[in-house]
């Protein structure tokens, strides 16, 4: 139950939607599946005065293009990512990640674009503030940080918990973004500012329109793991994503990507470790130690940094082993 009134528009095209956003300024928000926005409006951590609904726009089916890339409409439901034959066969890591999002109803309601643009989370932020934590925190426009009182006004340790974004980064995906001045494309990783206060680089009237995933190379391998307490329904404790390509010898790693989700204001990447994996024969335990040491996971939702790092180490190793095995399978 939302306890304040707002206006609602349901344009017939994304162009109209971006025009509406452009006219309405800060008070407007896009509504796609609503599974992130509605609870946040209910607890009034966001209070838009206008919702621009995209439910009047039918998403296009995922499409394999002439260059082998796959284009996915951002309004595609998460459950369709799970079930779509093209996605399942060509991008199984994406289908698997989509299957780990929340519960079935959220997957049915939630969209790919909405999942990517979900607000960052923190135990303090994501709740009602009518008698608990009445002083607004930095992210709510106030002047304190409850969980980490040492943080200054530039620092918010809310974490970005999309299960899918790390996968799309690992797959080298590009986002097609529609704004008042037309479309632009950015690499998936460039969606994020790394700032918990304002996590996204999108302009106020911009809409993620599509995701384009380039064709996977030969001897490509992947590993995906989402650590949760309950095995379902949960946001991730940590998300571990690995993508790599093996050389023709089936031993040497041509390149590798390691992306971590849920433990930073945006996806995290141990870039030095990634570089060290290039043209190397991989030693998963060593790499896992290096990668987990290289990043600095943010404590969140009751999980401390030391535990997160240890969990990330173990599942980096296990996911890397799977990725190598999958790459060999393909050779």
């Amino acid at each position: 139950m939302i306890l304040y009134d707002f206006e609602y528009e349901r344009p017939g095209s994304l162009k109209e939607a971006t025009a509406l956003l452009n006219e309405s300024g800060d008070g407007a928000r896009l509504l796609a599946g609503g599974t992130d926005l509605m609870p946040n409006m209910r607890v009034e951590v966001v209070t838009p005065s206008l919702l621009v609904s995209l439910s009047g726009i039918e998403p296009a089916a995922p499409e394999k293009r002439a260059d082998g890339s796959i284009k996915i409409d951002a309004l595609t439901k998460l459950s369709d990512l799970v079930d779509d034959e093209l996605i399942k066969s060509e991008l199984p890591m994406l289908a698997e990640a989509a299957h780990t999002v929340a519960g079935n109803q959220v997957r049915v309601m939630g969209t790919l674009g909405g999942n990517l643009c979900q607000e960052t989370r923190c135990l303090y932020y994501n709740q009602k503030h009518d008698y608990q934590f009445v002083e607004p925190c930095y992210k709510r426009g106030g002047d304190c940080c409850f969980p980490f009182p040492g943080n200054d006004h530039n620092t918010c340790w809310s974490v970005y918990m999309s299960d899918i974004a790390p996968v799309l980064i690992a797959l080298d995906a590009t986002l097609e973004i529609l704004g008042p001045d037309g479309t632009r494309e950015i690499p998936m990783a460039d969606l994020f500012t790394g700032d918990g206060l304002n996590p996204f680089t999108l302009g106020a009237a911009e809409i993620v329109q599509a995701v384009i995933v380039p064709p996977l190379p030969e001897r490509f391998g992947w590993g995906y793991h989402k650590t949760t307490v309950r095995g379902g329904l949960d946001f991730g404790t940590a998300i571990i994503v690995i993508a790599l390509q093996l050389a023709e010898d089936g031993e040497t790693c041509s390149w590798a990507k390691i992306i971590y989700g849920a433990v930073g204001q945006g996806p995290l990447r141990p870039t030095t470790t990634e570089i060290s994996m290039k043209s190397a024969v991989l030693d998963p335990p060593l790499i896992a130690v290096a990668a987990s040491q290289e990043i600095s996971p943010l404590p969140h939702h009751g999980f401390n940094k030391g535990y997160l790092r240890e969990n990330i180490r173990v599942y980096t190793e296990r996911s890397l082993v799977r990725a190598i095995a999958r790459a060999r399978d393909k050779s």
Partner: protein, 785 residues
């Protein structure tokens, strides 16, 4: 030979069809014409003086129909416990001071939710902040911020601050006992804050009709609610009617009077319109009552063979800002200590300590899981130290049938020994125990472990309203209507009462309709919160049926010219054994009764009370006096898997061997067992209310992690039948709805130890703690090498 047709059978739920069609009416489904919406203004501070409250702007807002504060009440206090020693201690709205975040200060009734919320925001309150205290040990220190003065009886002897109450008990000579012991050890176990997690939020609809209050409210017993509500409203019980509504789970969280119930009633009286309050899930998590985290310090001495010689326990309960059920838990913790094992020398003290947390409620098991976790964990440690296996040490100490307990209770046909033996046999526990520690699997980080825990639980005790009555109205076609105050909150009360009446009166289940849980039309009932419903209300129903049966037989004997003992009932007929052709239908017998007995329509009356010769409940302070008539005993085993690399652990299989006396409905018993295993594994691995400075951090089910469908464990059970049900005889069946959250928790802790060698001293058993334990073991191993 006992030929039972209904009792002992796994009959389907009587309320099932209503529940699978959406027809079942819960409080949130009650809608009345002109109904207003209420909302509550709560304290944003854990401890503060209220300097001033200005309601002017709120009252002036369009659509606001009523605003109340404590000034609009009669100032009558209420409490979960209301005894001479522990009188009622809480007002329905805060007066002058708030003592926890979320404490109720004012309430608004308005035409809709938005207006009510807007009105709350217009109430202006000036606070003067007072220092809070959250840690019970800090709260006990002299000079700690005083939430309430220590109980005078405790303050006479001890200088601790903030003591709400204390239970002290014991027998023998523990010091001598420890001196005589072969092995003595001391440990400390801590449990954490959890909550009930009932799916249905608390809802109250109150409607004042000039001299009478109608109430629909989420409860665990309508009569307790009526008594408390009438008291704080200063109304006679006859002016408060608590109506039946289905209850969407409670688990202890809906027993007591809540402020919103008073506010709904009072605002309805003031506005002349029905008023509805719905607690939001955030309110339930951050301002309503949770369970009780205990610190258990335990010292135990045993003989060489593991026989317990002496035990000393000191228990600290972080019991929140009012007395709540905090003083009950420290009493019960004693009971759950002494009931399963024979301890010749015992010293027990339990403190209930005020802190600036929300008030505490009973939560399924009410102290038992916390205490059994401590005792059973330590017992396994002792067993290993002295080289006895976990089964033998338990069999050596477990109580047997017909034992008199120190409080003069009797174990009667206690089947605990059999429970332990059967659990051991069914799981092959002794052979499995220690397997992965002795010969760790080479190529896997997964370790398997098995553990056992036992528990005993009371089956009903004396607390208001103490007794249950049941009335059976025979209809003149031979069918029956049962009037019972019992409330079905999912456990199946209506079903088992129907089974009993069907059995006793030889009716079909469908011949019987139940009218339940309505304070005006049904007799008083103990309620569904002291684990006595099947025993107490069930026996009342049985007696009411017997009463009706005797009347039917008497009339039939006259009509059929035989003696009553020649007659038997069968399928709505009364038949002569000596001449089976001589028979009358119930319809004919009831017609004869009306015709020949001054219009007697045949009404059966029954009532029951546990421990009928005991005047009162036992002393919460000294434990003196009898506690219960029937102890339910159980042994539970857990088989777990632990990943040594990640510390992640899960319950794979649970076995519950329980002595419930005699299962009236084994299918419903199984439902209780499965639910408790699930709740216990949530306790063990997932659920925790996280707080900081008195504020609740996780106010949703995303972050308070109750088990999902992914987390079910295989749950098997076996009955140890120690009683028989016989038509016309009273029975002493035992509880199955609460105690079984306990042994299994301890079993999980012991199984984790068995898998890993890590002995956990606090719940929950998080991966982080297990990893920490494993690292510590590695350090110790290295140091030893």
């Amino acid at each position: 030979m006992n030929h039972l047709r209904h009792v002992g059978k796994s009959v389907k739920r009587k309320d099932g069809p209503d529940k699978v069609t959406g027809r079942a009416m819960y409080c949130q489904d009650v809608k009345l014409p002109g109904m207003l919406t209420g909302r509550i203004l709560r304290s944003p501070h854990p401890h503060a003086k209220i300097v001033s409250i200005d309601l002017g702007k709120a009252k002036a807002l369009d659509g606001v129909k009523g605003v109340i504060t404590v000034e609009d009440t009669k100032g009558i206090k209420h409490g979960f416990v209301e005894t001479p020693r522990y009188p009622a201690d809480q007002e329905v709205l805060a007066r002058d001071r708030v003592v926890h975040v979320g404490e109720e200060i004012a309430a608004v009734a308005a035409i809709d939710e938005v207006t009510a919320q807007a009105a709350l925001e217009l109430i202006e309150i000036e606070y003067e902040i007072l220092p809070p205290v959250f840690d019970p040990h800090k709260a006990m220190r002299e000079g700690a911020p005083e939430i309430h003065p220590s109980h005078p009886k405790v303050a006479e002897k001890e200088s601790y601050a903030n003591i709400g109450g204390k239970t002290e008990s014991g027998w023998g000579d523990v010091e001598q006992g420890f001196a005589d012991s072969y092995y003595v050890r001391e440990d400390r176990y801590e449990s954490h804050l959890r909550t009930h997690g009932y799916l249905e939020p608390q809802v109250t609809v109150a409607q004042w009709e000039s001299d009478k209050l109608n109430v629909w409210t989420s409860s665990m017993g309508a009569f307790n609610k009526r008594a408390k509500l009438a008291k704080v409203l200063d109304l006679p019980y006859s002016s408060v009617r608590v109506h039946k509504a289905y209850v969407g789970g409670a688990f202890g969280g809906k027993v007591d009077l809540y402020s919103h119930e008073y506010c709904a009633a009072r605002l309805s009286m003031l506005t002349g319109r029905p008023v509805r309050f719905v607690a939001s899930r955030e309110e339930i998590f951050s301002a309503y009552r949770h369970g009780q985290p205990l610190v258990v310090e335990i010292k135990t001495g045993v003989k060489k063979d593991g026989t317990l010689v002496a035990q000393e326990l000191r228990i600290i309960n972080n019991s929140g800002a009012y007395r709540g059920s905090g003083v009950v838990v420290v009493f019960l913790a004693w009971g759950f200590t002494m009931a399963p094992y024979r301890v010749p020398n015992l010293k027990y003290e339990g403190y209930s300590v005020y802190t600036n947390y929300t008030v505490r409620a009973p939560q399924r098991g009410h102290g038992c899981p916390q205490v059994r976790f401590a005792i059973e964990s330590q017992l396994d440690t002792i067993a290993e130290e002295i080289g006895v296996n976990p089964i033998d040490i338990r069999l050596r100490n477990a109580r047997v049938a017909d034992e008199e307990l120190p409080n003069k209770d009797n174990t009667h046909e206690a089947g605990l020994q059999d429970c332990i033996k059967i659990a051991a046999e069914k799981t092959d526990l002794v052979a499995k125990y220690g397997r992965d520690r002795k010969s760790p699997p080479k190529d896997s980080s997964i370790r398997h472990g098995i553990g056992i825990g036992i528990s005993a639980y009371m089956s009903g005790t004396l607390i208001y309203p103490n007794g249950s009555g049941v009335i059976i109205k025979m209809n003149d076609d031979g069918s029956a209507v049962v009037l019972t105050g019992a409330i079905d909150l999912g456990q199946g009360a209506e079903t088992i009462i129907t089974q009993i009446v069907a059995e006793e009166l030889s009716l079909e289940m469908d011949d019987i309709k139940i009218v339940s849980s309505d304070t005006d039309t049904t007799p008083q009932d103990i309620g569904a919160w002291i684990s006595g419903l099947t025993y107490v209300t069930g026996n009342a129903a049985r007696q009411a049926a017997t009463n009706a049966r005797v009347k039917l037989l008497g009339v039939a004997a006259e009509q059929m010219n035989v003696t009553a003992d020649d007659l038997y009932l069968d399928n709505k007929e009364i038949i002569s054994q000596s001449n089976p052709d001589n028979r009358l239908s119930y319809q004919q017998v009831i017609a004869a009764s009306v015709a020949n007995h001054h219009g007697d329509t045949v009404i059966g009356e029954g009532f029951w009370r546990t421990m009928r010769d005991e005047p009162n409940h036992p002393s919460l302070a000294t434990t003196k006096g009898r506690w219960t008539e029937n102890y339910a005993y159980s042994a539970q085993t857990a088989e777990v898997e632990v990943d040594l690399d990640t510390g992640e652990a899960k319950l794979v299989k649970a076995l519950t061997v329980h002595d419930c006396g005699f299962p009236i409905n084994p299918g419903l018993v199984k439902g209780q067992i499965d639910g408790q295993v699930s709740m216990a594994l949530g306790h063990a691995f997932m659920e925790e209310i996280l707080t900081k400075d008195g504020y609740t951090l996780n106010t949703s089910w995303l972050d308070y992690r109750m088990p999902t469908i992914h987390n079910m464990a295989e749950s098997e059970d076996a009955d140890v039948i120690t009683e028989q049900y016989e038509v016309g005889q009273s029975y002493r069946t035992k509880e199955v709805g609460e105690g079984l959250v306990s042994g299994i928790l301890a079993a999980i802790a012991n199984a984790i130890y068995d898998a890993t060698g890590v002995r956990l001293h606090s719940t929950p058993f998080s991966p982080e703690k297990i990893l920490k334990g494993l690292r510590e073991l590695e350090r110790q191993q290295k140091a030893a090498e």
